[in-house]
Amino acid sequence: MLESDIYTVNVGPIHPSTHGGLHAEAIMDGEIIENVIVHLGYVHRSVEKIAEGKTYQQYVPYTARLDYLATNLPVLGYCQAVEKLLGIEVPERAQYIRVIMAELSRIASHQIAISATGIDLGATTGLMYGMRDRERIMNIFEMTGGQRLLSSYIRIGGVAADIPDGFIPAVMSLVQDIPGMMDEYNGLMTGNEIWAARMQGVGILTPETAIQYGVTGPNLRASGIAYDLRRAEPDGIYHRFEFDIPTRNGGDSLDRWQVRIDEIGESGRIIEQALEGMPNGEISTRVPKVLKPEPGKEVYHRIESAKGELGYYIVSDGSSKPYRLHVRAPSFINLMVLPVICRGGVFQDLITNIATLDPILGESDR
């Protein structure tokens, strides 16, 4: 019997498949992963400390930079948290616009997840198709918010500006094309035997482990738990829309991947309903220039972001700046499960698992 040694391979922080600045130290026995040690903080920008020095309105653009691939979702969560803190009501029209923008962001984020998984597994063409479709959403964001990636279009009390001309047809045509896009992703990748072989049974996350480790979002739903905050704790107007919560039962990489593709379709349905039901009216409540919540009041508000449960914990001391702001970042918590699901797999599974957990480092490192 030959003696074998354990060795470490540092995947990242500079590595093609780490989605930013993730550093996963793989401890390997041959091709088998014994353990993974995740090192974070390469994109740490101390956003929680910054919040203590900014007024509530000034902080809005910073939140957009948490999950920069689904930019409207973290902004929406923050604005809703502040509105909860101050008891601000948001006009109906703004609610509908917010839902449309949030769901578009979710689609954009999932498309990045799909594209990135594609390229991580060597299907370069999958990357290009995903990015091509995402580009249309970016154009819609540019049209409404003025910026493609980090528009900070949602504001405390409503949205920054009304939707422009050409918005509704653009969104409508996008929504109509979503089934075609899904067919294409499924045809090129999901149905592919190599693809299925690389993902099936890889990185299995049991529902028990998922809950213990606080995993949320598509990763939890792929483990068979239909838990979606849009349904479980609907803030705003999500209860008005009809949509399904896509789930899978295996909890492996293929399930996580498929849940994301299915969610694109469901988001499309929500957008369609929101476009139909959008009333006319104000797009923002009149919000005072200086926001001063009651001293000592605190709020924990959570929304279903593209990556999972995104929570904001804000403590006010009565001044115009938050006394303490904490972001419960889904990527941060979802990443905790990476070593658990990687153990016993081969090295290539690590890449698959990182890709299908879909962490975003801007959010996890904050």
Binding site: D120, A123, T124, M189, I351
Partner: protein
């Protein structure tokens, strides 16, 4: 048009003999000239191929590909080559320098050697070896050593992992590769590639040996380290695999060698399964080019569609599927030959 190059060669030898050279020496000089021509063709061909792959992959992905330098961006590769040539040559301080430096040269030399036996037209060949096919297979598998040298010499975990993977892969796939060619050899009864081409004047072997054709295609993709079997490189996993530490022209040599191999393997495939240089109307040397490029395009198509296969799946696919299937094919071919003889067809 047909005997253009043969006439040229004959004229050349004739001219040298008229200068008073011994006919034997004239042949030797011709061989050197042939070699130089082959190397030139390879180099030019690769410049076109790299451009073609970039262009084709772009079209698969709804992009334009290189389009700035020259018509359709054809000069892009030349610009890239100049860039690579002028780049700093970095040798890692911890590397095993001799092995590190010789690996790319070894790789390209082995790749170029493959061209000696490929029939590039009617009577056109650098050397007409009677064991041409055997030569091709054995020299072709030498490139494994080059990759192992690169991986070992770099003294880098990624490189070593890439190298180990590629050795495992290429050794496993060399077997079905050889086995799938055996069927053809059994039918023709010769290892000479010209004979194999001539045996296909009625039926191409792709029709007689369809299973062998498919297994050969798959095994060849793996031997070429092309997607979906691009384990040694696997840039999304191994950041560049065996080539991680290479820069500039040394890296480019690997790249060149891979394309050289691609053309050689495609040309062999055209020779063995698609009737080689045989074809109507056009001259024979044009036919082999057309067939080779058709196969190369299929290689591109496959690479730019499929994801990378996992290492253990790759190995089990070779040993559990390809090897038995190609062995079965040999059995089938043998039975078929006996059946034909028994029926008196051949």
């Amino acid at each position: 048009m047909e005997p253009l190059f043969i006439n040229l060669a004959e004229a050349f030898t004739g001219w040298m003999i008229s200068l008073g050279l011994d006919p034997g020496w004239a042949e030797a000089v011709l061989l050197v000239v042939k070699w130089i021509i082959v190397v030139t063709i390879i180099t030019v061909n690769i410049i076109i191929l790299i451009w073609l792959e970039r262009k084709v992959s772009a079209f698969f992905q709804e992009r334009l590909g290189p389009n700035r330098l020259g018509p359709f961006g054809i000069f892009q590769t030349i610009a890239d080559a100049i860039k690579l040539l002028t780049k700093e040559d970095i040798v890692p301080s911890a590397a095993d320098k001799l092995i590190f430096k010789t690996a790319p040269m070894f790789f390209i030399v082995v790749a170029v050697m493959l061209y000696t036996v490929i029939p590039m037209g009617k009577g056109m060949q650098v050397i007409n070896l009677n064991v041409g096919l055997l030569f091709f297979i054995s020299v072709g598998s030498l490139s494994t050593i080059a990759l192992l040298m690169a991986g070992w010499g770099s003294n880098n975990k990624w490189s070593l992992m890439g190298a180990v993977r590629s050795v495992a892969q290429m050794v496993s796939y060399a077997i079905p590769l050889a086995f799938s060619l055996l069927g053809v050899v059994m039918i023709t009864g010769s290892l000479n590639l010209q004979d194999i081409v001539l045996a296909q004047d009625k039926w191409w072997f792709v029709i007689l040996q369809p299973i062998a054709f498919i297994t050969y295609f798959i095994a060849a993709t793996a031997e070429l380290n092309r997607g979906p079997f691009d384990m040694p490189e696997a840039e999304q996993e191994l950041t560049g695999g065996a080539y991680t530490e290479y820069t500039g022209m040394r890296w480019a040599l690997f790249f060149l060698a891979e394309y050289t191999n691609l053309v050689a393997v495609s040309a062999l495939m055209a020779t063995v399964f698609l009737g080689g240089w045989q074809g109507p109307w056009l001259p024979s040397w044009l036919w082999i080019i057309i067939k080779t490029y058709a196969i190369i395009l299929v290689f591109f198509w496959v690479k730019w569609t499929f994801p990378r296969i996992r290492m253990d799946h790759l190995m089990s696919f070779s040993w559990k599927v390809l090897v038995p299937v190609s062995l079965g094919n040999i059995l089938l071919t043998g039975a078929g030959i006996y059946f034909c003889r028994w029926m008196g067809w051949c």
